[in-house]
């Protein structure tokens, strides 16, 4: 055998479309049924995330309190009940939604459904648990302040979403966490019970039993009107958001440019272009910065999507000595992509990578549930992934080139950099017009 044995056999993509039920309280139930699967997982997604905070951190804290005791069981009793069945139960908030998640062996499906609703509708919201959570949150914030990747991600958000709730600290700041009290938690909980919600059940379960269980448990708490979306803003173009860490041996870089939404008809060619630049280990950023130059352990580009905003984000960590050349290399690559100086084999490899990724994402019910959540969250059609796969297979070079010419523009990018200030200043010269310091303790940008 002297050449790689590539295959041209077609792949079959077994995307599972959920069955839907709307319960009498307005809750939408999405069922991904795998009759032979030994496990079941459930997600209750409430469309009222941390971006609606009045006091930063209050939604995250309330979300965590949901699984720390109910009116029927205190936190310890609930934990014991869950864990003695070998199940898991958790809750969290991102900027767009609050989620309860549970998983376990299939015979616990009804019990898990009842328990999740109990947590959502009748949490104990215990004052001592809140105090404990707040202390822990303050410690977490301390920990985060030592994590250069966390700092870079938040410094970038501040510049990407100025005066927008996405730039607010989802987990709060020391001063706001301290201000969260029983009243704020009760107010957030009222918001959560009234907001629209979707439930995804994936794996092995009895359909009739699970529908009946959720119907019975949720009937008393109808969801009302959706919360208003935030006002859209533009990122601070040609701006750097810098976090000074004089002791750092590496610089963490995150660089963003505006991208198109999940609903845009050019989604497939756009994502193909991003994949060519940095979507995987043979993409340009990885090939040049790691394989050719040995500057870094990894360098990637992704389309970071939120419900009300999205961006192409490039990210890497490099030694101080390599920071300047790394920024120059990234700028060169962005310009090259904009001119679409791209070989045909780069397009085909990226396309195959994306198709293979889609094939690999059909392995488990939990993967199908994650896709279903994207469909719900971004308002996509049920067969979005089948359509997207077909579009990806048909995209032409001209389609990708047309998207790339507007997508890649180093004049409008926004850069977050964490590391030694003098190294960063030298590296960014000529690549941004404004450089501002981001203060991790107040999570604000200095004036221009």
């Amino acid at each position: 055998m002297t050449t790689p044995p590539f295959s041209d056999a077609p792949l079959h993509f077994p995307f599972v479309t959920p069955a839907h039920r709307t319960l009498s309280d307005g809750t939408r139930l999405h069922l991904l049924h795998y009759p032979n699967d030994p496990l079941v997982s459930m997600t209750i997604g409430v469309h009222a995330g941390a971006m609606y905070d009045d006091v930063f951190g209050e939604t995250t804290l309330t979300a965590q309190l949901l699984t720390l005791g109910t009116q029927l069981r205190n936190a310890e009793e609930l934990a014991v009940d869950v864990e003695r069945r070998g199940c898991s139960l958790s809750s969290s908030a991102d900027r767009d939604a609050v989620s309860l998640y549970a998983a376990g062996l299939r015979e616990h499906a009804s019990w898990l459904a009842e328990t999740m609703v109990e947590c959502l509708l009748r949490p104990r919201l215990d004052a001592s648990e809140l105090d404990t959570l707040k202390r822990r949150r303050l410690a977490d914030i301390e920990m985060n302040l030592s994590d250069p990747d966390w700092l870079a991600a938040h410094a970038l958000l501040a510049a990407q979403y100025p005066c927008h709730p996405y730039a607010n600290p989802r987990d709060g700041m020391p001063s706001t966490v301290a201000a969260v009290d029983g009243d704020s938690v009760a107010r957030v909980h009222a918001r959560l019970t009234a907001a629209p919600r979707d439930i995804i059940v994936a794996g092995g379960f009895d359909i009739n039993t699970i529908v009946e269980t959720f119907e019975r448990c949720l009937a008393s708490a109808p969801a009302t009107a959706p919360l208003p979306p935030p006002v859209a803003v533009n990122a601070l173009a040609a701006t750097a958001s810098v976090v000074a860490r004089p002791e750092a041996v590496q610089t963490v870089l995150r660089i963003a440019m505006p991208s198109k939404s999940m609903l845009h008809p050019d989604l497939a060619p756009q994502n193909l272009a991003i994949t060519i630049l940095g979507g995987y280990t043979l993409a340009r950023l990885f090939s040049v910065l790691r394989e050719e130059k040995g500057y870094t352990y990894g360098a990637y580009a992704t389309n970071e999507v939120r419900r009300y905003g999205q961006s192409l984000v490039m990210h890497t960590s490099v030694g101080n000595d390599f920071t300047k050349d790394t920024v120059a290399v990234i700028a060169d690559q962005v310009r090259s992509m904009q001119r679409f100086d791209v070989r045909t084999d780069e397009i085909e490899r990226a396309r195959q990578y994306m198709l293979g990724t889609l094939a690999r994402s059909t392995e488990t019910p939990q993967q199908a549930a994650a896709m279903a959540w994207n469909v719900i969250q971004y308002g996509l059609v049920d067969d979005h992934y089948a359509r997207y796969t077909a579009a990806l297979q048909q995209v032409t070079r001209d389609d990708v080139a047309a998207v790339a010419s507007s997508l890649f523009d180093a004049h409008v990018w926004t850069i977050a950099a964490v590391g030694k200030p003098d190294v960063i200043a030298d590296a960014l010269t000529g690549h941004v017009s404004t450089s501002r310091l981001w203060d991790p303790t107040t999570m604000t940008l200095s004036p221009p």
Partner: protein, 443 residues
């Protein structure tokens, strides 16, 4: 009398939950055979998704290294993505990713493992690449020089630029002193820097041989096609001399406490890392060990969490885990102090819980709960084709029998309260341990 009835009722309910769950675990069906050159092959079919995983497990890890040349095994994990006779430099990624697959590798003290997950129509490509780099790797200056840079950056990323980054190196050096487990796979940068090309070639020739490897193919494939492909690609390599194995019977007993305080400018909160000699993968107590660590630190009803994080609020995080290698393990407790609390407070609280464990043992209810958690995890970790391939390779290598994947759960379920208590007494009665205190150092 009522209390007695309730207790038994709860116990019966727990037993029922356990029995019902175990009935759902579907054994992994596989076939296995050995090529004349010694390559052991395991095939597992799963046609639920159009995906195939290959795992090629080489029996070489950092324990096989010359102590003056640490980091070699991990360095080879990187070098194996360089050129072969028929594959250009740095294009293995391109071949696999370009075919829609995913690839990676990892190095432990015991093994170096390469894995691909590819769309099912590309299984032949995955096997061709593995066969190429098993015996046709080009070990030359350009590849070595490039990967030297990459490995140094990996070290900075994981160790030098991360809070508490050096704890594992320090712990291994103490807990496994005098054994080949005393250094971590990342090794010492200077050893790789000074090594010459012939040394790398020698390492490759010694360990990257068919009779030093286990190949697992798992997923959506035609077994006849895969068998003949393996024969074609791997069958022509001759059997090599058996590689030397370091002598390793057991770790030198750790006597007393070895303490160190580290000022860490990257850390924001003080952290404690406390390690005892634990249990290795082949130790019969391994199953009791996992039950013990589940009881102590898995979930919010676990002992350490309930007591130290939730009730006393001395720490924001406490965990206990056994880092199991083939012949030895380290049992580590990690505690991160809550703001305003000292590491002495954390250490005292952990010690109190360990003393309670040693003196009072564990309860039947705790063992039942731990088994239920293990059972769920076990089922969850046997769903994907890659996870199953990895489990089959590990079972063959470390247990000597791939079918161990299907009997492992029974062994967990057979663990008794007394076995867990006895193990805890054996490992934790005396303070024979390494204790590291990481203190945030500003500026």
């Amino acid at each position: 009398m009522i209390a007695r009835y309730t207790k038994y009722g709860a116990l019966l309910a727990l037993l029922f939950l356990t029995v019902a769950a175990r009935a759902q675990y579907k054994p992994i069906v596989f076939t296995e055979y050995t090529l004349p050159n010694g390559l052991h092959v395991i095939l597992h079919e799963d046609h639920s998704a159009p995906v195939v995983a290959t795992v090629l497990h080489y029996k070489v890890g950092s324990r096989d290294e010359d102590p003056r040349r640490t980091g070699f095994a991990h360095f080879f994990e990187h070098l194996m993505f360089e050129a072969t006779d028929k594959i250009d430099r740095a294009s293995i990624d391109k071949l696999i990713n370009g075919a829609g697959g995913q690839l990676n590798a990892f190095t432990s003290q015991d093994a170096t493992v390469y894995h691909f997950v590819v769309p099912s129509n590309e299984v032949r490509l995955a096997l061709w690449i593995e066969a190429q780099r098993m015996r046709k790797l080009q070990v030359n200056e350009i590849g070595v020089e490039t990967q030297r840079g990459v490995v140094k950056e990996e070290r900075k990323n994981r160790y030098d630029n991360a809070p508490y980054g050096g704890w594992m190196e320090k712990q291994m050096a103490t807990v496994f002193a005098g054994t080949p487990y005393a250094w971590t796979p990342i090794g010492t940068a200077q050893h790789i820097d000074v090594a010459a090309i012939p040394e790398f070639v020698q390492f490759y020739t010694t360990y990257y041989q068919p009779n030093n490897a286990i190949l697992v193919v798992s997923g959506d494939f035609d077994p006849a096609v895969v068998r003949s492909t393996i024969e074609t690609y791997f069958g022509g390599y001759p059997r090599a001399a058996e590689p030397p194995r370091p002598s390793f019977t057991s770790s030198k007993p750790l006597i007393g406490e070895q303490r160190e305080v580290i000022q860490d400018p990257k850390a924001q909160l003080p952290a404690l890392f406390m390690s005892y000699q634990g249990v290795g993968m082949t130790d019969p107590d391994m199953f009791a060990m996992d039950v013990l660590t589940e009881i102590m630190s898995s979930g919010e009803s676990s002992r350490l969490y309930r007591s130290i994080v939730d009730s006393q609020q001395t720490a924001v995080q406490v965990s206990m885990f056994n880092y199991a290698r083939e012949y030895a393990g380290s049992l580590t407790v990690v505690g991160i102090a809550a703001p305003g609390r000292s590491l002495d407070d954390v250490e005292a609280a952990i010690d109190a819980e360990l003393e309670r464990l040693v003196s009072g043992g564990v309860t039947e209810a705790e063992v039942s709960k731990a088994k239920a958690i293990i059972e769920s995890k076990f089922v969850g970790q046997r769903l994907g084709v890659y996870d199953k391939a990895l489990a089959l390779a590990d079972a063959k290598r470390f247990m000597g029998d791939a079918s161990h994947v299907n009997t492992e759960l029974e062994k967990y379920m057979a663990v008794t309260k007394d076995a867990v208590t006895k193990l805890a007494k054996r490992l934790l009665s005396a303070k024979n341990r390494s204790v590291l205190h990481y203190i945030p150092a500003k500026g």
